[in-house]
Amino acid sequence: MSGGFGPGPLMHLSLNLSEFGRHSGAWRHPLSDVGDAPSVDRYVQFARTAEEGLFDLVFVADTPVHTPGRTSVTGTRLDPLELLAAVAAETSRVGMVATVSTSYNDPVDVARRGASLDRLSGGRLAINYVASTGDGIARNFGLDAQLPHDQRYVRSNEFLEVVTGLWAGASDGTAPAAAVDHAGPHFTVRGALDVLRPAGGRPLVVQAGSSAEGRDLAARWADAIYAGGSSLPRAQEYYQDIKTRTAAYGRDPNGIKILLGIMPFIGSTAAEAQRLHDDLDAYHLEGADVIGHLSALLEHDLRAYDPEGPLPFADLPDVVVSSSVSMSTLFKRLAREEGWSIAETARRSYVGGLGNMQWVVTGTPRDVADEMQRWFEAGTADGFAIVAPILPQTIDVFVAEVVPELRRRGLVRSAYEGAGVRDTRRPRRVARRGPAGRLVTA
């Protein structure tokens, strides 16, 4: 343990759902059947497998913009709340996380749909509130450019105030709903929710984001947070920081669960796992303009420089405007610390995609269990978000071999608690901080 706060005895598990896996080379792998994309059946199948593995959550990411090119291909985009409504119809226990952009939604609309899906699923919904990055998205929603970073987080806070207020005042079917009277810089809302209260009091609040504003937003609101950490000390620092910030808001630090992203490449031997990793990288890199990709990420044209030379740190903008602050900062730091050339930085930033934000483990099921145990016991996380590089291979092997191994070690649950999520979500409690979920109580 590296500080004052530590996880409970059991690790929580979440699966990132995507059509072919989170590695952008996955769809080209011979294992992947791309014949009937978009295939809702695939999402449902992966969620059911996660449920067999007694996962806490399945997670659907969202960025509401069409991005041309081949940089990030994980399947076809579908609306998360609609997709999870279909998943809810075919699962019964696993929690479901829908990503919702606070910059490009109306809180009344989200309160309505969130309450509805929570009730349809028996209290299994969680919502991942993201601020969303990029001017391309803004143009889909009537703006020429996105709001400044700090303003997007002001809006996120206000968004959460409105949705949680509407849920807290909602009708339980006997008493009428209480109205919200809110006037803020981004929303003016006078009215009550026009569907019944969510089955679980309110859907769990999930966040991601590593900027100071993102951490504070999570500390104030979140029941769970998706974290990225490429080194163990950094993940430990993040864990302590989030718990400390949470306590500073007067909350129980155990009331926020930190789920650390792990991208596991799993094979029956270490060599087979490495080959899977190498093959996926190769499929994704083939024919790619990696320097162009890094130029866009860092918002500086790098094609004029020697690709074998270092990044021109002095020429780079301090703050990126349209690309991801977290990703650009990460790669500048890694390039400096590791002494990578422009070409190497470009290759790594391109090939891993989101994997760069994660901790990558390549090995046998036992290797993966070992590493998860080591990081868990080092106080880096309350659980893990399985960022599956290729689906269904990753989740099939994980549930068949890694989960039993973790169970033998007493690190994951051996049955869902109670009769389902709703049994542990205390549905009648609607205090502003809302109910503790299974995530919180297990």
């Binding site: 069409h66 076809t76 997709l83 349809l120 143009r139 009537g142 003016t188």
Partner: protein, 350 residues
């Protein structure tokens, strides 16, 4: 005769409702019976009547869950064309069309529910202004649905192209109520665009529906009364010659109230005769049956009212193998007849 059934999900008033999965199971059972009875589509609608407990769920999420629990019935969800963002509406309903493999529809809410203006903080202006906003909203949504050409998703593992980006065209729209520049992020849906259902209550609605709707539903009440259906209100006037619409390919399904279950006034045979006369007399293509919002009311459609219609000489769609497959568009006989959504013109794409 094609039948659609409007369903709302009531609150704690209905003893059949428990929280959560039991609720979905109960709705599924009712809709499965409608599907088996030959009903063409269910239209999931909100119930925003003030003073009564609100419905348990809202339409689009219930429709998404029903998508995986039905196999042939059309699944139409009511969704606002006044509040929110056209981009979100377009992706939500395109997703529903993917979930149902081409059985989805959008029932356009072009009027605000009680209190919605204040809740969303969007002042709407008078009826003309509202209609203009709704029409622009629908136009943007349909153009977004058309922003991916057929065949834009052809994953080519050898070349490494998952999509053909040259077949994906940004929509550029800038008008009185909305502006937008971008292509939809959800791929073209199985029907190209979900079926557009338009409940009409006013003459303005009729004009808007004439331009955009595939199915028009005149007079769409939600509360049961003892009043018989009105033939006059079920027959919208045809638009004047020279207007932009293609009214000829629009189906008309007047909304009629179901008789209250188990009451003397609710004689199924008399009701079925009235519905038959209404549909024939008005030249409509079918009817939209509006229930009292209870599960008993829904169950009674399959068990009593559809048989009564059949006995009255107005049977629902034949349940042959052909009609049980295929898109909602095809089941409505609209394939090839529908107005194509406007394609981007030269110079518009950025």
């Amino acid at each position: 005769m094609r039948l659609s059934v409007t369903i709302t999900v009531p609150a704690g008033r209905d003893p059949g409702i428990g929280a959560g999965v039991a609720l979905l199971d109960r709705v599924t059972a009712a809709v499965a019976a409608l599907e088996a009875a030959g009903v063409t589509a269910v239209v999931v609608t909100p119930d925003r009547t003030p003073g009564v407990p609100p419905p348990a769920v809202e339409p689009t999420t219930l429709a998404g869950a029903l998508a995986r629990r039905t196999s042939s019935i059309g699944v139409v969800a009511a969704d606002s064309a006044l509040f929110g963002y056209p981009y979100n509406t377009a992706r939500r309903l395109a997703t529903l069309d993917h979930l149902t493999r081409g059985r989805a529809g959008w029932s356009v809410e072009a009027h605000p529910g009680p209190g919605e203006e204040a809740a969303f903080g969007v002042p709407l202006g008078d009826a003309v202004e509202q209609a203009a906003r709704a029409e622009e909203y629908v136009e943007v949504v349909t153009r977004l649905w058309n922003s991916w050409e057929p065949g834009a998703v052809v994953p080519d593992k050898v070349r490494g192209d998952f999509r053909d980006d040259t077949r994906i065209h940004p929509v550029v729209h800038r008008a009185a109520h909305f502006r937008l520049r971008g292509a939809l992020d959800v791929p073209r849906s199985p029907q190209g665009r979900p079926v557009i259902v338009w409940p009409v209550r006013t003459a303005l609605d009729v004009l808007c529906a004439a331009r955009h709707a595939d199915v028009v539903v005149p007079w769409c009440p939600l509360r049961p009364t003892s009043r018989p259906p009105s033939v006059r209100s079920a027959t919208p006037p045809r638009p004047r010659a020279g207007t932009r619409g293609s009214w000829s390919c629009c189906r008309r399904w007047p909304g009629v109230r179901c008789p209250a279950p188990s009451t003397p006034a609710g004689d199924p045979a008399a009701w079925a005769g009235a519905v038959r006369d209404l549909v024939r007399g008005s030249g409509a293509d079918g009817a939209t049956l509006v229930t009292d919002g209870t599960f008993d009311g829904l169950d009674e459609i399959a068990s009593e009212l559809v048989p009564a219609l059949r006995a009255a000489g107005a049977p629902p769609e034949r349940r042959g193998r052909r009609s049980r497959r295929g898109s909602l568009t095809a089941r409505l006989g609209l394939a090839g007849l529908r107005q194509p959504a406007r394609r981007p013109v030269a110079g518009e794409a950025s």
